[in-house]
């Protein structure tokens, strides 16, 4: 126990305390530093400290939103399931981004990499499923002259279907180009696609020969191939309408496409690229011109091309949609339960154990502060089950203190001096505290690895709570007791919650 009372340990505790105060109060520190008022909405929250966004991450049952479990079926042959799962996740992410959800969570699951779970805050199940499950058809068009067309990417020309679609592409990937300067997108066609593409590019080059990079006339509209999502014959027929065309020719929006009503006009353009030479091998490269694409632009484009067809079929296993009112109500209830619980415990401890109880309450506040900081920093996504885990760990932190104090009373009654009683109480209570917390912690580990989804959240918060409750009850309470009892002011029986105290 000498170690617990040593200065390095005390410094460590003060360090944890300061760090927790900083993390917990991050919002207020930000407000004060930027001269904002302490309440109400201010811009820039939650604050960003060196890449850390410090705030509580609320699970769907608290934030409101939609959770969907998908089963992936119809895996394409010849690719590892993990790769296909990753690709599907990136396609879904891309589609979900168009919904403007903050922090969408899309995770792989399943022992065989054949599941994906999606958590979207503030979105109904209907919207989410439309966007995620949407089948966008990717089409290649060439350009044919039409003098009535005045707008769009190629004025004087309107697009025409080529028969080449997303079905003819086997993959699109972003990669660094050979010069190493910029990013490009590599497209691999199926054999049917390779033939079509070869014919198209040959015809393109024949339409206006030369090197388009140097010869101006070589960069004619007929030499362009353009990729669209869901472009229809109706769109092409309306190409003379300039407002319509300028809308359609903007960068594609899968969210709009997924939820579009018959008369909505959605942006559909994926990429409009000039053909540099006839490509006969079935492998095409789209480069950004100049120094190429940035990494994110290339990845977006590759995902967009892949998004035309999800590599697998998605089958819905379960859907949970929580209304934001219910979520807000749950948050209120949890906070109320937490505050109520803490106050009952603090009141009880102070009334029943007097000065030691007060010190334990301080230790308990330290504990709550530290655990909240950990939740923010890790970050731990808080759910109803997770909050239960936390409240339970409060109970366990109190339990350790009660064990020590009951022992303390015994030791005092047995005639020990107060400092000796403190020491003996902590020492004698330790085995029970150690074993009980160890059993809880082991249970948490098992639940964290084996348990079903909601129970994992419970295990994580309880596990973190148990570790900090040990620190709080053994280290903090003991130190506070030792410091306060070093003076003689508090060594009175009434303040100790015992009948009588030995004077020396």
């Amino acid at each position: 126990m000498q170690l617990v009372l040593s200065w390095p340990v005390r410094l460590l505790i003060v360090g944890i305390l300061l760090f927790s105060l900083f993390v917990d109060g991050a919002g207020y520190i930000y407000r004060i530093a930027n001269h904002y008022s302490l309440t109400g909405n201010v811009p820039g929250l939650p604050p960003n400290f060196g890449g850390w966004q410090l705030y509580f991450h609320k699970g769907l049952d608290l934030a409101g939103g939609t959770h969907i479990d998908y089963q992936l079926t119809n895996f394409p042959p010849g690719q590892s399931k993990a790769t296909v799962q990753q690709r599907t996740i990136s396609v879904i992410s891309k589609r979900v981004n168009s919904l403007g959800v903050s922090e969408p969570e899309i995770r792989g699951a399943g022992a065989n990499n054949d599941r994906i779970t999606v958590d979207l805050a503030g979105v109904t199940a209907d919207q989410a499923q439309k966007v995620i499950g949407a089948v966008n058809k990717l089409v290649y068009t060439k350009w044919v002259a039409d003098t009535k067309v005045t707008g769009g990417p190629e004025p004087g020309y309107k697009p025409a279907f080529t028969g080449l679609t997303g079905d003819d592409i086997s993959s699109a990937t972003a990669a660094i180009d050979q010069s190493g300067l910029g990013w490009v997108v590599n497209i691999v066609f199926t054999s049917r696609g390779a033939d079509l593409f070869s014919n198209l590019t040959t015809a393109n080059v024949a339409a206006c020969p030369g090197d388009p990079n140097t010869v101006v006339t070589a960069n004619c509209a007929q030499r362009h191939l353009t990729i669209w999502l869901d472009l229809t014959q109706k769109d092409i027929d309306t190409w003379e309408d300039t407002t319509y065309v300028s809308k359609v020719s903007q960068n594609y929006d899968t969210g709009c496409l997924a939820t579009a009503k018959p008369d909505t006009v959605c942006p559909k353009l994926l990429v409009d690229a000039v053909t540099l030479q006839a490509i006969t091998g079935g492998n095409a490269v789209i480069s950004g011109g100049g120094n190429g694409f940035t990494q994110s632009a290339a990845q977006d484009l590759a995902t967009g091309i892949n998004a035309g067809s999800l590599p697998v079929d998605l089958q819905v296993l379960s859907v949970q949609q929580v209304g934001s009112t219910l979520g807000a109500q749950s948050v209120k209830l949890s906070i109320a339960a937490g505050i109520l619980g803490l106050s009952i415990v603090v009141l009880f401890m102070i009334i029943y154990y007097r000065v030691p109880g007060l010190l334990a309450s301080l230790a308990l506040l330290f504990y709550a502060g530290a655990v909240f900081a950990v939740f923010k920093v890790v970050p731990v996504t808080l759910t109803l089950a997770g909050i239960t885990g936390f409240i339970l760990s409060v109970g366990m932190a109190v339990d350790a203190n009660v064990l020590i104090f009951e022992r303390f009373k015994e030791e005092v009654r047995a005639g020990r001096t107060i400092p000796a009683a403190v020491d003996a109480a902590v020492r004698r209570a330790w085995p029970a505290i150690r074993d009980s917390n160890m059993s809880t912690f082991i249970t948490c580990l098992i639940l964290g690895f084996v348990g079903p989804g909601p129970i994992k959240g419970f295990a994580v918060t309880l596990g973190i709570g148990v570790v900090f409750s040990l620190i709080s009850s053994i280290v903090v309470t003991h130190n506070l007791l030792a410091i306060v009892m070093a003076g003689s002011t508090f060594r009175r029986a009434a303040l100790m919650g015992v009948d009588r105290v030995r004077s020396t």
Partner: protein
């Protein structure tokens, strides 16, 4: 042990305290004996003759153990009967299906909602939660069917607030149950192993450790069966919504397991310590002394938790009430089992398989 006499003295004197104010139920009157009663308890036990009837009550947990076991069985056996006979009322995440939690602005009565749901032909059941709130459960609906259902409901019964929709397919429901059961079983085995290891250094060695671990496991199973049994009775026997078994209920069971094991370990730890320092007492006396020394702490800890839970039960919303009730039953059971079952069971086991 240089401080041995002091410890024994501490142990006896401990029960002088007026802690009993905090006790509940039948403990209340029994926990307020004067110091003399305990002196006599120990003296009497040392003497071979049975003690004469005394004017003061004393706590003798160990010799009344059969009453305590009987009391537990009185609740557990009907519970097991219900579990075996009619099973549980399953929550949506275990049963599979689609569940809508809605609040209608127009506050229609249950019959109106039921007829509207019946017209949809999706095999629905309707539960009212008061204030225009209903929980409607149907077979698993696809997103498109769900949309149609929601729109039809709005057309027939007026506008509503959709608070929660849960749609769970059969596969995932089965998996959740399996994982939940598996994690409870593994956790129980891990606790048994840990306690056997931790208590191997009491007199009797590993076998004694196994007795401690096994008794704790039995108390743990007591709580699990009592809690699930009561919920089987509430759910199937009385058909109450609050008796539904879902993931949150499993979380409650695990929480209870955690608390119960804590209580049991505290008693057992005291037994371990007293076995070392009070070698002139018999095993039964040591167990009884240890229970007396730790009962106050167990009850105090549970009491604070119970206060919080009662508050949630009264004030909490429908989603949390079942959960709070489960925790309440479980924590009372956990405290009871560690005081009245785990330690007395250890005595029974010790008698059947003497180690000293």
């Amino acid at each position: 042990m240089s401080d041995q006499p002091e410890d024994v003295k501490a142990g006896r004197l401990r029960t002088e305290s007026p802690d009993a104010d905090e006790e509940e139920e039948d403990l209340e009157e029994e926990e307020q004996p004067g110091a003399a009663a305990h002196e006599e308890l120990i003296e009497a036990a040392v003497a071979p003759t049975p003690p004469a009837p005394r004017p003061v009550r004393k706590i003798d947990f160990v010799s009344r153990r059969n009453w305590y076991f009987a009391f537990s069985l009185l609740i557990i056996i009907p519970g097991i009967f219900f579990m075996a006979h009619s099973g549980f009322k399953l929550g949506i995440d275990f049963a599979g299906g689609t569940e809508f939690t809605v609040t209608f602005t127009s506050q229609p009565n249950q019959a109106q909602v039921e007829s509207a749901v019946a017209a949809e032909n999706v095999g629905g059941s309707v539960i009212t939660t008061g204030g225009g709130g209903y929980i409607i459960r149907t077979a698993v609906l696809t997103p498109a069917q769900q949309k149609v259902f929601e729109d039809d409901l709005r057309a027939k019964l007026g506008n509503y607030q959709l608070q929660q929709v849960l749609s769970v397919g059969g596969t995932i429901a089965g998996e959740t149950i399996q994982l939940a059961l598996l994690s409870v079983v593994i956790a129980a085995l891990a606790i048994l192993t840990l306690l056997t290891f931790r208590f191997r250094n009491v007199p009797g060695g590993w076998r004694a450790g196994f007795q401690f671990g096994g008794s704790a496991l039995a108390a743990l199973l007591h709580d699990v069966f009592l809690l699930t049994g009561v919920f089987a009775i509430l759910g199937q026997g009385f058909g109450l919504k609050i008796g539904e078994i879902n993931s949150l209920f499993v979380t409650a069971v695990l929480t209870v397991v955690g608390f119960s094991v804590h209580d049991t370990i505290v008693v057992f730890d005291r037994i371990r310590e007293n076995l070392r320092v009070s070698q002139r007492l018999s095993f039964e006396q040591v167990v009884n002394l240890s229970i007396m020394q730790t009962a106050a702490r167990s009850i105090i800890t549970s009491f604070t938790v119970v206060l919080v839970l009662v508050a949630i039960l009264v004030a909490g919303g429908a989603t949390l009430q079942g959960f709070a009730l489960a925790l309440l039953i479980g924590i009372v059971s956990g405290t009871y089992s560690s005081i009245f079952n785990a330690a007395p069971l250890l005595v029974v086991w010790r008698r059947l398989q003497p180690l000293r």
